[in-house]
Symmetry: C2
Subunit: 432 residues, 2 copies
Amino acid sequence: MDVIRLGLGGFGTVGSGLAKILDMNAGRIERRLGKKVVISKILVRDLTKKRAFDPGPDVVFTDDPDALVNDPSVDIVVELMGGLDTARDLMLKAFAAGKHVVTANKHLLAEHGLELFQAAADNAVGLLFEASCAGGIPIVQTLKESLAGDEIVKLLGIMNGTANYILSEMTTRGMDFSTALADAQDLGYAEADPTFDIEGFDTAHKLCVLIRMAYGVDYPLAELPVQGITSVTPMDIEFAREFGYRIKLLAHVMDVHGRLEAGVHPALVPYTYLLARVGGNYNAVRLEGNAVGPIMLHGQGAGDLPTGSAVLADIMNLVRKISDGCTGPDNTGFHNQPIPRARILPPEESESKYYFRFTVADRTGVMAAITRSMADHNVSIAQAVQKGESGAEGIPLVIITHETSARDADAVLAEIDAMDFSVEPCVKFRIL
Amino acid sequence: MDVIRLGLGGFGTVGSGLAKILDMNAGRIERRLGKKVVISKILVRDLTKKRAFDPGPDVVFTDDPDALVNDPSVDIVVELMGGLDTARDLMLKAFAAGKHVVTANKHLLAEHGLELFQAAADNAVGLLFEASCAGGIPIVQTLKESLAGDEIVKLLGIMNGTANYILSEMTTRGMDFSTALADAQDLGYAEADPTFDIEGFDTAHKLCVLIRMAYGVDYPLAELPVQGITSVTPMDIEFAREFGYRIKLLAHVMDVHGRLEAGVHPALVPYTYLLARVGGNYNAVRLEGNAVGPIMLHGQGAGDLPTGSAVLADIMNLVRKISDGCTGPDNTGFHNQPIPRARILPPEESESKYYFRFTVADRTGVMAAITRSMADHNVSIAQAVQKGESGAEGIPLVIITHETSARDADAVLAEIDAMDFSVEPCVKFRIL
């Protein structure tokens, strides 16, 4: 039986996951493909480091990237190292050596995706990356192939399990942010350095990748508005609940008369939405196509096995293409044409309802000043709540607005932040 | 720009939907493929019939199947006629003429799929059928490609929008079955002859198709246990709600130590499951892979545009394969090998908790007789409710059982049905 040989870059969580699945499901894979898939070589930084999973005696470990990409027996390079420079170098070398690449690296794709697609196309090889977005949830394949004929009206995603886990714990158990974060770290749902997850950057990387798949355009990462969950407090969660919402870290993109509005923000999601019920470290993507209507995909967004499953799906996809005699696969979903820059709706022009939370000194004239500022910037009040429990931390004042522009919302918050009765920075979250 | 020409078999709801999308999204399709996709010829039974949608002046209508399949300019035959014999003949002729086929015909695939896969493979052409299962939800592609490397532990599906709409109306509005059915027919969610939908046959067809995609084996349609929703009453819905469940028409398949247990049944689904919240005529599939874990897909399962979207996705998939130089695409998901018969767990051996509803005369000794019968067949009682509102229709008596075999459950019901105090046939629904 033919054997397909993989050269792995990296052997951490996802690499071990892939190795486990190749072992556990070997029979299934052979039945599906009529071929065996094995790992033949693994590139690591530290040859002496003890590995969590033993990939077996036939696997050669190396610390030399060239030994990986130039090995004629390696059919597919699987980049699972993460990070930017080393991963990018490996991929470019792999393409130049005529090797297909499967990756899980959302950060690299967000920063350097256009260059990588071009290099893959120049060498007529595959570049697949299902595992880069929402783990085992097949969102990349869905956008690229299953919804290929649809115009994507809107996409909303909960795509970071760490952030969703933290918010879920805060919601179901009333924990504050730092306790929930520490809890997540203990359980392995958050890294020692959780910045990318809790600041929304990881979600932003994935959103850039999905925007290319959905629209065939590039929304530069540096221009994407990104707000993380570090300013969400138990009080916000409670207010949101009273108003009928759950707070989620959402990626969104929508087509607004031919321009794309996109961003990553904590958002109040109506409890009636299935999206509001995504718990723990699960992920979900809700999209609307102009033919298919609303579709939701839900599953585990991270972990060795779910992510490994997505990597394996891409590998098997490539094996089938190779067996079917394919040349120069379509990697971008737009037959490998250069990807133009998106027509971007300037983020400050985006319209939304908002949840504002002010924390103010207990003083006359505060409400008058706030409502004056809002009126000055054309921001209408839909609901307002002032609960009088005053402490050293000040009184919380929550306002739900009608639709307003981000520019006007930010202007109000800047004004109120500058006033001497503001005890803490103002907080705003979008409302879905 | 290259043009791909479609020959449609049939021009009803789905055909019109496809034509609308090809028109509406022509720009998107050309950007994706670098080619145009047009309908060139449509096969219909009645050339005089007025059509809901005008596909344009360049389309030729014909009532001769040979004129469709032997037309050298037709690249892909799209079978949207439904039914068995005419559709099967058309497909076999298309394969013999070297043409790829896209279909939405779950009934034909369930009955004759093995023959069709063989014929497609013999002619090295494609046979794709995303639209046959759950409309726009990409479940076929997901099983075939995205979860190719997983062992599928279990699959549960709400795959008939008509039945789900009726049950939803009964649940949210307290309607009885016939009122809800009439309502569905008025809204176009149910056919004039709704048998296939409400008796579970349509769901059974789709389940057969999905079992082949998930497991690469054939579970013969004739052997699949199928129970529809016609015996569900508002009382059952209310009892279920009190116990914390919603009633759904579910397709299920699971791997039980290497044998497949499968069937279509009304089932009580715990309210905490996302599956319980699938409303109206939406569909959802919840699967578990041994690597990816639980995944749920949710969306519209029928309608001209959602189903047309799935047909178009398959067409574009084929166009990409043709452009990429593919020969002999893998249609079965198991590299076109003959599909063996499934190792089947005899349905009577399947284990489940049950909801039993007896309707009995108001007489001494009834409960004793029922509980005696259950004890004789080793069926344990988890909960029992007898509400005394006696009418001419008898008193309802509901029992929730512990895990029991279908054989034992059926034996109890047969015994109680035979007793003279049974005023109406006993009803049983599985509990998830």
